[in-house]
Amino acid sequence: MEFDVTGARIFLRIPTGIPVLGDFMITETLVITWLVMLIITGLCIFLTRNLKVENISKRQAVAEMIVEAANNLVRSNTGGTKFDRLIPFVAALFASSVVMNLISLIGLRSPTADLSTEAGWAIVVFIMITAEKIKAGGVLGYLKGFTQPIPVMTPFNILSELATPVSMACRHFGNILSGVVINGLIYAALAVASSALLGLIPGAVGEFLSHIPILDVGLPAVLSVYFDWFSGVMQAFIFTMLTIMYIANAADG
């Protein structure tokens, strides 16, 4: 029995000839990302059909609840309404993250199990943080911030600044990847176990039954409550919260 965990499958490789960026690859990550986007957008359209001012449907109540929750999350964490323009971004980040994490439940490979996804997000967040800092203190103020409290600290400050996006990306990626790896291991191990167990039955019946990984039914679902559900929602929430916090802190100076 062999078991290995690989990265996303590559469906199509488009050579671009650009030296650093390399080939453009249509991978499982991208295809499933598009699927996730379709799901989220479709859900948004479904929820906001037939909007009414009075006597609202359950669907509209859910949509309003989501919007209010997003508004409250950003407003309560940034103190006021000056970051209202961030709300759709934060909502998109959270929704993408949650759906991408949970899509592994239907057997697809999470796009968040590819470091490129989280790295992209983290870079966007890093740029936003930096932009807020420059907006708050000017370019000189921003650069001077690195020499605080004493100039000797400059390298460490730069390191800590860069560590922000790296840690955000790796934290999310690591959690999801660990879920993928552990789930893979469990499935494989249980398949081996059931094969060994059913192989004890003598004759052709045992031979046939040992190919059916009967133990894979049930037990992994229990574990997936933690590795997929809890971890998936938790990481999405952490990523989103950190985004809001970092940007709000940057604006405070």
């Binding site: 990265g7 690859m25 957008t41 990847l177």
Partner: protein, 167 residues
């Protein structure tokens, strides 16, 4: 169809994912936040309008009440005035009636008195004439001596005068 390494950074995938995130942001904004925020805004406006309307209605009701009360007070005052006027008028009329009646009674009495006086005069005149005639006849018969008609009349008048004074 190959696979990527488990942990790797593919620049194009990274760029595509950034773009995907922004597209997703636009889609969520366009299809969730915009319509819902519009609806929430509309509801808020509706609630505000309702409160404003209620306040307006109350102010109007207060105004109406005040107007009504003023009107009522005015009407009451007017009614009182009318009653007073009517009372005065009635009194005046009663007085007038009494006065009229008195005047009328006085007039009637005066006329009656005048009538009586006239009747008496008339009766006296008649009696005067009759007695005159009678006296003439008697005188003609008794006194053979003829006297003039005018002397005669004067004598009779004197006689009657005496009779009138005596009666």
């Amino acid at each position: 169809m190959g696979t990527q390494p488990l942990v790797t950074l593919v620049p194009w995938t990274l760029i595509a994912q950034i773009l995907n995130l922004f597209i997703q942001m636009y889609l969520i904004k366009r299809f969730l936040f915009k319509p819902i925020n519009e609806i929430l805004q509309k509801r808020r406006e509706l609630a505000d309008k309702e409160i404003r309307d209620a306040r307006d209605a109350r102010a109007e009701a207060d105004g109406l009440k005040e107007q009504y009360e003023t009107g009522l007070a005015q009407a009451r005052a007017e009614a009182a005035q009318i009653v007073q006027g009517a009372q005065k008028e009635a009194e005046r009329k009663a007085e007038e009636t009494v006065r009229d009646a008195q005047k009328q009674a006085a007039a009637i009495r005066a006329r009656a008195e005048a009538d009586i006086a006239q009747e008496r005069k008339k009766a006296i005149n008649e009696v005067k004439d009759e007695i005159g005639g009678l006296a003439m006849d008697i005188a003609g018969k008794v006194v053979e001596k003829e006297i003039t008609e005018s002397d005669h009349r004067r004598l009779i008048d004197e006689f009657i005068q005496k009779v009138g004074e005596a009666s």
